[in-house]
């Protein structure tokens, strides 16, 4: 989950990382009550990088200019995201700009400290001078100092910047971050350091153990829809632009998410990401056109099957999954590949039969092809009757059938 700049800076403030006086602006009118002296910088609060180049960062010397700039920024989508909030910040003249970051390197399997003496918007220049220090064991400030020396910092700056890195690391560990980045860290002529921009990404799997962060993401101070952090809010997670989330159930359970693939007419339902992706690959190889796919994540389900809490949640989950896939208006065929979960294939077939019977009023008929590992196909076809469910005993055959069906209906 990516935090917006102002949310990241709130965390910086809590951790003692210096930030500029700032104010969040929900509408251009708010600028009339601006408490920061001009000139100010107005920054679009969106998750994409490259805001400056896209026109999302503007300077203003007085209220009239600021209001005009804010109006422009609010109307400007950057990577399809409109800002709900603009951050107004005092203008700062840095003598020097550094790049700092802490992230988790999956190959080293350790947090890594990154720093470049050349911070700012020129990515190539920053990369040229990029230094890294792998935090092999428990963190200690000397790791940060090592990075300072590698970066070529001298004198008082070593301590001042190292201090920032230590605080970034502490935030990284305390909040289960995937990434914390300050670019640029401004250094004034007098040697004062200032975090001029901030980027924080919280690990999605760990998010549920940070209710204060869930509240940050769900709380929109200026949005028209009033969403206050409530217990219900704590049970849902944030939305990413490319996938649609729905039906977030209890804390610690990941919600089902549909992944859009293309403009085709086939949906793929699988359990397990690798298996679902492999099934999509096979469909494309057979010249089928996938529209979307969904990972059922059935391992979650086993915990809730046959418990006294809420009975069997599997039918509900299958229904939710199919509803999500069918939201795509182009969809005509759904290929189901669920492996290793149902001891009896009949159980899955019955769930699909139930779903089709419940949704018979739908004007758009969907055909199913179900991959089974074994089972008496004749008996199953008899059970299915007239309903549009076909079965196959191998993945290749199931893909072939599904693709033929999808083509025939075009």
């Amino acid at each position: 989950m990516d935090l917006l700049e102002y949310q990241a800076k709130n965390l910086f403030r809590e951790m003692g990382i210096p930030i500029l006086p700032s104010q969040t602006i929900g509408t251009p009118k708010d600028l009339k009550g601006l408490k920061i002296p001009y000139p100010v910088v107005l920054k679009s609060q969106v998750r994409a990088g490259g805001r400056g180049r896209a026109g999302g960062i503007k300077f203003a010397g007085n209220t009239i200019d600021a209001v005009a700039a804010a109006q422009t920024i609010f109307a400007l989508p950057i990577m399809n995201e409109y800002p709900e909030v603009i951050l107004a910040e005092a203008k700062y003249d840095a003598n020097q700009e550094l790049y700092l970051a802490v992230f988790l390197d999956p190959v080293a399997r350790r947090p890594v400290l990154l720093g470049s003496k050349q911070g700012g918007i020129d990515v190539e220049a920053t990369m040229e001078q990029m230094q890294q220090v792998i935090v092999g064991q428990e963190f200690s400030p000397f790791y940060a100092r090592r990075l300072m020396i590698q970066m070529g910092l001298e004198g008082k700056l070593i301590h001042a910047v190292s201090n920032i890195v230590e605080r970034m690391y502490q935030l990284f560990v305390e909040k289960d971050l995937d990434l914390i980045e300050i670019n640029p860290l401004g250094i004034s002529l007098g040697g004062e350091v200032m975090a001029l921009d901030g980027k924080i990404s919280v690990n999605d799997q760990a998010l549920q153990r940070h209710p204060e962060l869930l509240a940050v993401v769900n709380y929109h101070p200026h949005a028209e829809i009033k969403t206050k952090p409530t217990a219900a809010c704590l049970e849902t997670s944030s939305n990413k632009p490319t996938v649609s989330l729905a039906y977030a159930d209890k804390i610690n359970r990941q919600p089902l998410s549909v992944v859009s693939i293309g403009t085709g007419n086939m949906g793929i339902l699988g359990n397990g990401e690798g298996l679902t992706m492999a099934t999509v690959d096979l469909v494309v190889q057979e010249k089928g056109k996938p529209a979307n796919c969904l990972n059922l994540r059935l391992a979650d389900c086993i915990d809730r099957v046959n418990t006294t809490e809420g009975g069997d949640i599997l039918p509900e989950r299958i229904d939710q999954a199919l509803d999500l896939l069918i939201e795509n208006q182009q969809l005509k065929v759904i290929l189901v590949n669920i492996l290793g979960y149902f001891p009896e294939p009949i159980v899955l077939i019955n769930l699909l039969i139930d779903y089709l019977k419940k949704n018979q009023r739908s004007p758009r008929p969907i055909k199913f092809v179900v991959r089974l590992v074994d089972g008496n196909t004749a008996e199953i076809q008899k059970l299915v009757g007239d309903l549009p469910i076909d079965v196959a005993l191998s993945l290749d055959e199931a893909v072939h059938k599904a693709v033929s069906l999808a083509k025939a209906r075009d």
């Binding site: 399997r109 990515v123 995937d178 298996l275 492999a278």
Partner: protein, 298 residues
């Protein structure tokens, strides 16, 4: 490392539905499940498996334990693993999905310091068909044989194993190392283990998009692995948004020790295998043909 049928196994978090199912499946596969751990529920028998509050209590009763299978909730895994390591258990398999990466890092540090083998998290564990089940692999897809499988996926492993079983290419061992980006043991470690395993004649490596472990495996195989390896990579046609989800930022993905431009996509993984002369299957059913070719050459 003890992966023999008489090795003693405990299950941490035994009383939830998944672990109960897993415990009994393992037992019926002749795996020596000697105890279960569930704080607060010690003193009872779960089926005929004695339950203890603490790992150390179990060991006091049943003697040295070789492996622990961990099935506790995600935020409790690190503590459970720490407890197992403190009690001297040298092999830990974490089935649980959702363990925060920083917890995995903490565990990896400790495992390296104590020379403990950690498999997972978010994995189906290990199966040696006909001999031993340490995890949740559904046994019906496997049959004994000479092919070793190492995979990041759970269910895709079953798909591939089923293809091989039907082609009469049985398996010596199948290891699911876990789907997460940061895992306890890598492709490299398991390639080395299978290269030295006398029952394994060829290896199938199943990868998927995300991270750089397949690229690293490809170089390692070229340098250090003698037995033939067939690769299969899933996710060729999955949108790149998923690949980028762990990139963090442009800078960090470029600066990370992967150092490869474009690493993380299925295409880059397949290219890495091909560059190392490792045959790559287009789909699970193509693996058998490639295997027969390389086994025929021996």
């Amino acid at each position: 490392m003890n992966l023999t049928p008489n090795s003693k196994v405990i299950i941490q978090g035994i009383t939830n539905t998944l672990s109960t199912h897993t415990a009994f499946t393992m037992k019926s596969y002749n795996t020596n499940v000697v105890a279960g751990i569930s704080p607060g529920e010690g003193g009872q028998a779960w089926g005929n498996i004695p339950v203890f509050d603490l790992v150390e209590q179990a060991i006091a009763q049943v003697g040295i334990v070789d492996t622990s299978i961990i099935l506790v909730p995600p935020y409790a895994v690190l503590d459970a693993a720490n407890e197992a390591i403190a009690a001297g258990i040298k092999q830990i398999i974490i089935v649980t999905e959702g363990m925060p990466p920083l917890d995995v890092v903490s565990l990896v540090r400790k495992a390296e310091a104590t020379e403990t083998l950690v498999v997972g998290p978010n994995c189906a564990g290990i199966i040696m068909p006909g001999k031993l089940l340490l995890g949740t692999h559904p046994t019906q897809f496997y049959t004994p044989g000479k092919i070793g499988i190492i995979s990041r996926s759970n269910t895709l492993t079953y798909e591939v194993a089923w293809e091989l079983t039907q082609a009469k290419l049985g398996q010596s061992i199948a290891v699911s190392i876990g789907c997460d980006l940061i895992v306890g043991s890598s492709f490299l470690q398991w390639l080395e283990i299978l290269d030295e395993d006398e029952h394994t004649e060829a290896i199938v490596l199943i990868g998927e998009v995300g991270g750089g472990s397949e690229e690293a495996a490809a170089s390692y195989i070229a340098e250090a692995i003698d037995k033939p390896v067939i690769a299969y990579v899933a996710g060729v046609h999955t949108p790149s948004a998923r690949v980028m989800s762990h990139a963090g930022s442009l800078m960090t993905s470029r600066a990370s020790s992967q150092q490869l431009v474009g690493a993380g996509t299925a295409a880059s993984k397949i290219a890495a295998f091909k560059a190392a002369d490792i045959p790559v299957a287009d789909c699970p059913s193509a693996i058998r043909g490639l295997l027969k070719k390389v086994l025929g050459k021996k």
